[in-house]
């Protein structure tokens, strides 16, 4: 049992919490991070496909990820002392028929409207970028400034560097309740009876955020859904782009190590067995393999060495919930990243730290306010 004081408490030791802690510690703010599991970055932060994408994103969150790609990702490896394996070699979203072309055209038009360089290219142009793609691919949307990175080293790099700068991290400590003192959020009560106290408290606990926010009367409409992924043995270098498909059969990239990390789905997401831990289903990885082989016949002999699953915290409208909660002074929220929180995480950490230190952000986040959800009529 501990009783501990800091300027800032962050609940959730994923990449959002670790990045925010890093940018705060860098500015000499005393910060404590509380993680319920025994591991740093044990949720979506370690289980995602590594995309650092702007294309396909909602205009409400696009400015944040563009800010991160311009200002933070290019020098992040040096800054946090790990190889983030960041590649900015573009994102291809692949299509095989007229229906796919319509989907991709819609995404491209929406991206162009907000000033993002995304182009439609035909099958031959696609194969100029990645010659290994099968002739079934007839169309793609192409965003040259997108990329990918390694979620494991990036998350743990933020943790390692924040810790070195004096941020305190506790794992295996579950927050049960937020508690106000004289109308302001001040305390965090944990399962072992410890009390942590701070002037500002940020909730970045993925899906678990909902329950925590509920303890001070705030509700964010979100649910969780299971995502599954696999990784191959190391293969000779084939391509550096991030890939997705119009049909959403799979997404992924080849890592620096040579292995291919691909995520995908069986169609039963939302109906998977839930025994409290994210479990892979026996039908999903084979389905991902079938999807991949249609696009990359050469990968049929690549060996799968590992599969895994993870929860994504889905918000009701597909974009995160971010910023101050005016009803509860002292509360900051950063959750519901809906399966695309990794690429945007450095920008979130940077901007949340600014919000905590100065009360404002450089990028307008008002469209991501917790209070935006209204009934349909």
């Amino acid at each position: 049992m501990i009783s501990y004081k800091a300027d800032v408490i962050i609940i959730g030791g994923g990449i959002i919490g670790c990045a925010t802690a890093y940018y705060l510690a860098k500015n000499n703010i005393s910060v404590t991070v509380l993680e319920a599991s025994d591991y740093i970055g044990n949720g979506g932060s370690s289980r995602n496909g590594g995309g650092v994408r702007q294309s396909g994103r909602d205009p409400r969150e696009l400015p944040l990820v563009m800010y991160g790609i311009r200002n933070l990702w290019p020098h992040l490896s040096e800054e946090i002392g790990v190889d983030t394996e960041y590649h900015q070699d573009g994102n291809l979203r692949l299509g095989k028929n007229v229906h796919h072309r319509e989907i991709l055209q819609g995404l491209t038009d929406r991206a162009n409207k907000v000033g993002l360089d995304v182009r439609m290219i035909d099958g031959d142009e696609v194969r100029k970028i990645i010659p290994y793609l099968s002739d079934e691919v007839t169309v793609a949307s192409w965003c040259p400034t997108d990329g990918h990175a390694n979620p494991l080293t990036t998350t743990l790099g933020y943790y390692k560097t924040a810790r070195k700068l004096g941020a305190r991290f506790y794992t295996g400590v579950k927050v049960m309740e937020l508690r106000k003192v004289k109308g302001e959020l001040r305390r965090v009560l944990t399962d072992d009876g410890s009390v942590f106290e701070a002037d500002q408290i940020m909730v970045a606990a993925g899906y678990e955020s909902r329950k925590l926010l509920g303890s001070v009367g705030i509700d964010v409409p979100m649910t969780r859904s299971l995502l599954e992924a696999l990784v191959t043995e190391a293969e000779p270098h084939m391509f550096d782009q991030m890939l997705g498909t119009a049909d959403a059969d799979f997404y992924g990239h080849q890592t620096k190590h040579g292995s291919f990390v691909f995520g995908g789905s069986s169609g039963f997401e939302g109906f998977n067995k839930d025994n409290g831990t994210p479990m892979t289903s026996s039908i999903t990885a084979p389905a991902i393999c079938r999807g991949i082989m249609k696009y990359f016949p050469d990968l049929a002999d690549a060996k799968i060495v590992r599969t895994w699953a993870g929860w994504s915290d889905k918000s009701a409208d597909g974009v995160p919930v971010l910023g101050r909660v005016e009803e509860v002074p002292g509360l900051i929220v950063a959750c519901a990243f809906t399966g695309h929180g990794f690429g945007i995480a450095p920008a979130i950490g940077d901007q949340m730290a600014k919000l905590i230190m100065s009360g404002t952000t450089d990028i307008d986040i008002s469209a991501l306010h917790y209070d935006r959800f209204k009934a349909k009529i």
């Binding site: 794992t171 295996g172 579950k174």
Partner: protein, 110 residues
């Protein structure tokens, strides 16, 4: 089930030792010194060591080295190896070609 762990607790400074250049994870060629240093950088669990260094993430998925890695991490943390939770074992048990894995829904006699 989870245990409170203060990641800032004092485990002493990292001091290089003879034998640090020894390769422990053969698949990914990770040395003893790299593992010891990672513990001092805050990687206190087998799961974090795996994700940070790739030790046990190669072709054999740690079936050869995980016991050795555990012993090294435990010694740096000054705890018993039995106190360290092993990293999660994941499907498949042996590396399997995509074209074979993909056949899961086909009848055997087809």
């Amino acid at each position: 089930m989870n245990t409170l762990s203060d990641r800032s607790r004092d485990i002493g400074e990292f001091v290089s030792q003879p034998g640090d250049e020894m390769i422990i994870c053969r698949c990914e060629e990770i040395t003893k010194g790299e593992i010891r240093r990672a513990v001092h950088e805050g990687m206190f669990t087998m799961t974090e060591i795996r994700r940070y260094l790739r030790a046990g993430m190669g072709l054999c998925q740690g079936q050869t080295c995980s016991k050795l890695v555990k012993g090294i991490v435990a010694r740096e943390l000054k705890v018993s190896p039995a106190d360290l939770e092993p990293a999660t074992s994941r499907v498949p048990m042996r590396p399997i070609e995509m074209k074979v894995f993909a056949n899961e829904n086909e009848d055997e006699d087809e």
